[in-house]
Symmetry: none
Amino acid sequence: MNKQETILQSAIRMFTEKGVDKTTISDIVKDAGVAQGTFYLYYPSKLSLMPAIAEVMVKATLDEVITAVDPAVSLRTQLAQFVDAIFRVSRDHHEIQAMIYAGLASSEHLREWESVYAPVYEWVSRLIETGREHGDFRTDSSPDQLAKLIIALTESAAEQIYLYDVETDQENRAAIQKEETVKFLAYALGLPADD
Amino acid sequence: MNKQETILQSAIRMFTEKGVDKTTISDIVKDAGVAQGTFYLYYPSKLSLMPAIAEVMVKATLDEVITAVDPAVSLRTQLAQFVDAIFRVSRDHHEIQAMIYAGLASSEHLREWESVYAPVYEWVSRLIETGREHGDFRTDSSPDQLAKLIIALTESAAEQIYLYDVETDQENRAAIQKEETVKFLAYALGLPADD
Amino acid sequence: MNKQETILQSAIRMFTEKGVDKTTISDIVKDAGVAQGTFYLYYPSKLSLMPAIAEVMVKATLDEVITAVDPAVSLRTQLAQFVDAIFRVSRDHHEIQAMIYAGLASSEHLREWESVYAPVYEWVSRLIETGREHGDFRTDSSPDQLAKLIIALTESAAEQIYLYDVETDQENRAAIQKEETVKFLAYALGLPADD
Amino acid sequence: MNKQETILQSAIRMFTEKGVDKTTISDIVKDAGVAQGTFYLYYPSKLSLMPAIAEVMVKATLDEVITAVDPAVSLRTQLAQFVDAIFRVSRDHHEIQAMIYAGLASSEHLREWESVYAPVYEWVSRLIETGREHGDFRTDSSPDQLAKLIIALTESAAEQIYLYDVETDQENRAAIQKEETVKFLAYALGLPADD
DNA sequence: TATGAATGAGCGTTCATTCAT
DNA sequence: CATGAATGAACGCTCATTCAT
């Protein structure tokens, strides 16, 4: 792994452990085992790491989703698998997600965000199109629009559980929230219940 | 307005204008017209302002919602009014919302967040209960659960429009997103279409 | 002496001892016995000290000149006293003079320089005007023009001796250079020799 | 042009463009199109370039003077041509001159300065000697002494115009200053007016 | 209560210098 | 000879925090 990659990995680790604001470049380079100046060979500032990190996160999300969702099962089950995957990503990376939401917001790298996140939208869009070919889902909204709202709902539902530090009974609350989210989505999409 | 309140208002203004990280206590006290030391009479640190700010925001949200939603009209219309209100709050205060999401996350004041936000959840919960008394909404989920997801979806949908700087055609995209969100919610809640 | 004045004095001392470039703000505040941050309460940067230092230098120059020149003696003698004073200032402060010449040049504070130095030009101008009232000095150049060249010549002659580190026989070479400068000036100004 | 020479030329260009302090070795090697390490094959530090640069400058000055001054014309005119040449050099290279004056001063390479500048002194000295053979110039000062003061006056007069950024009406003020300088010199040297 | 001058630890950043290739 | 990635000491500067008034 080259030094640029090492720095990026260390940045993700440090941001996750202590938050973006409280992470110093000194923390990152110490963790990465490189000199202070080496950081600046690859990134002009701390915030300029954000797009690269977002990219890593999106890739991780997409990988998780693709691995988790089995195209052979019913759409309702696929939806459950999707929700499960998003909740898992949120649980494992909620610090980074908070960082992306607000950290990116305060940087000048926001423009890049939409394009970085595009693959996830596209994946969900295609899921809907495929479903429609089998006669599933309501058809009075475009796949792109539905994809946006599906993702908005699912990530936001996951964050309600994982973004905040209240860890009491977390997995139990997560299970309920997941089940409710799937049901909510099924209704919202006009998906008939499994029989 | 006493000095504590003045400081809080200045903090909100400064945070909104230049972001939380880039706002210094010096900025706040200058804007408030008080001395540097006075800040510390009321708040031990910059982050300790967060719960108070969150409270103000939640109150603003609730006021907006209560004002906008007319209990006399159809539930579908009330839903549309609710979505409209949330989008408006997001448009006007997206900086603060990003701040609350991630700014709070990095502080030690997170515990207070849930209790601060509770009134909004309760308001939506009561909306559902009232609807049920008239035979509306599906009943296979608890009002509290539905409230959570309604809020999650609506705020997240609004943020997709307003959190990012792409201001091209913003209000047009917002109109479409609002309409789709209402439709999505109506399906998700088992609400019959207006007739 | 207040802290601002203390910092200024320390800056002059440090600049004189080790040169402007090699003097760090840390050097200055250590010498002044104040905290690092205190510096920035009064000066936004190292270069912003320059106009203040220039002012001190000009005042020192003017004091030296006014003290040294006796209006009661012949103009030729007054000229010698003036040259003597300028050489003395150069000897004692040549580091600062080099600093002002080039240090100011690299800053954005250059505009202020002319106004700061104005009193010296004016003093020499008045010397010429007074001389003319007694029928001395050639009259085919304006006092202001002559003042500029008198100062240019005298300071530059002094710097040839003192700006560079060659200290061998310095005072002897200075004596010769002073005498020649006075003679040069006397001719240049159309001043008759003492009789 | 070999790499050593390329580096020197780039250093002069960079120093002129952005000042000595703000020019980094990285700037120089980038401009020169050589690697960072190559610099150190030829110069041990940034300041060690100074004597070489001074030499180039002095050569440029001498070339300008020799080209400009026509030995066939009257001494008064030659003086005007000389003043003109010095003003031109100052206008085109005032950044480097400031650099040499104070930049050299802060280095350990000062000893070399006098010897580097010697050819200019000698040229002026010879001008005076030649003039004397024709019965011109006063003879109560040595040519070497006069040369020093002539150069001191002329360069300093030029700097009063060009060292500072006030560019309003610069060429007009330069013309007046040049004329006055020639007149001043003519008197100072006991040179009869052209007839 | 209220002030604001003073603090100083610690930050991001620069850049002259080295050395394995 | 030439390279340029890597170094890390040292810099200017910020700003939350304190405390004598």
